[in-house]
Amino acid sequence: MKASKVFSLLALACLASTAVQAQKTAIQSIEEYRAMLQDGNPADLFEAKGEDVWKQKRGPKKASLEQCNLGKGPGVVKGVFVELPRYFADTNKVQDLESRLLTCMETLQGFNPVDIAKTDFGKGEQVIMTALATWVAAESKGMKFNLSQAHTQEKISFEVGKRLFFQRGGPHDFSCASCHGQDNTRIRLQDLPNLTKNPGDGVGFAAWPAYRVSNGQMWGMQQRLNDCYRQQRFPYPGFASEATIALAVYLGVNSQNSASIAPAIKR
């Protein structure tokens, strides 16, 4: 009894001097934890499903997506992810991966894009959408981002995306920049990339789609942005809406020359 009291007094005395060290150790431990999860990323399951669904004849037109043009010509999948979002002449719009897949599901397979856009994440055709996005992204793993800014619409999207990134609002006055506007900060123990400039290989835009271990869900970039806005206490951004696509252009252009690690595994 006495001994333990002495010990706890000693422990208290030591606490102040060791606290800094303990904090560092906690961060190292979290790093170790993340490393342990790298081997065996459940995103593999969604990637396999996406490849399978790409080739399946589906929808009212009973067609596959094998002729889908994601920017490098019909059926080309490798390398498209790191050039999206980009301008497409046939729709006269700047589109990200998911909104472009939606266009292909409409034109090739006969699905109603409005219905799919309205479907909750993780339900019905949105499950297919996420699997497709996961597979398409995986086909560009290790490649460097290289978004075009040649078309006027692509430049406009970037400028709008930048304004959205810094837009403060909602009850908390948050903007994307509140958390992602400075170097070397964290929320709780999560490191926050500075997305106003190039955050580096496999960070931020270059990591999604990703498997979230906290809820066991696979998320595409649209869902990632949607949940950022939820936590910002913003209203709900429509799936494949112009706002989310413009924001993706801003993030993607900032990631120029960074290597994609998607699909990643995240907390």
């Binding site: 170790e32 490849e51 399978d52 929320i187 709780r188 123990l189 271990v213 906290s214 936590q231 907390r267």
Partner: protein, 152 residues
């Protein structure tokens, strides 16, 4: 390197084979030990599977993170260097039910298995090895579970 497509094709064939030979049902476990998976402690689990008293051993290793960023997925490894391991258990002491998984080994596999567990809170985790001679050895370590980010 095998493609996914081939894996899928193989799976169908294997599933068919197993069905026709009746291999899987025949080999299926005698009965799922419901009592063991509802037990609240290491002692109760061992009682439910008819094992004796456990002894802490340096020859058994429990692998896992010191801190898990998220309790939903905690990678845990159980292994031993001793020959003659028959069963290996992975437990999380403070979960609603302590036992996560029970592995029945054969001579064809190493006494080294890994899986991932859900943890409701920080807790001691155990690797338990039941030897062919009935000895029950264990190792334990603490895993801290931290909170997530914003939005609760």
């Amino acid at each position: 390197m095998q493609t996914r497509r081939e894996t899928l094709k193989h799976s169908a064939i294997v599933a068919g084979l197993l069905a026709t030979t009746g291999l899987f049902p025949q080999y299926a476990l005698a009965a799922y030990n419901k009592t063991a998976f509802e037990a609240k402690s290491l002692a109760e689990v061992l009682k439910a599977i008819g094992a004796g008293a456990p002894v802490e051993s340096k020859d058994v290793t429990i692998g896992g993170p010191d801190i898990a960023e998220n309790g939903a997925v905690v990678p845990l490894t159980a292994s031993t260097v001793l020959p003659g391991a028959k069963q290996m258990l992975i437990l999380v002491e403070k979960n609603p039910a302590a036992m996560i998984a029970m592995f029945n080994l054969t001579d064809s596999v190493e006494a080294n298995v890994a899986t991932r567990a859900k943890m409701g809170q920080s807790s001691d985790v155990y690797a338990v090895v039941i030897m062919a001679d009935g000895k029950v050895l264990f190792a334990k370590k603490e895993v801290k579970v931290t909170l997530g980010g914003c939005g609760g």
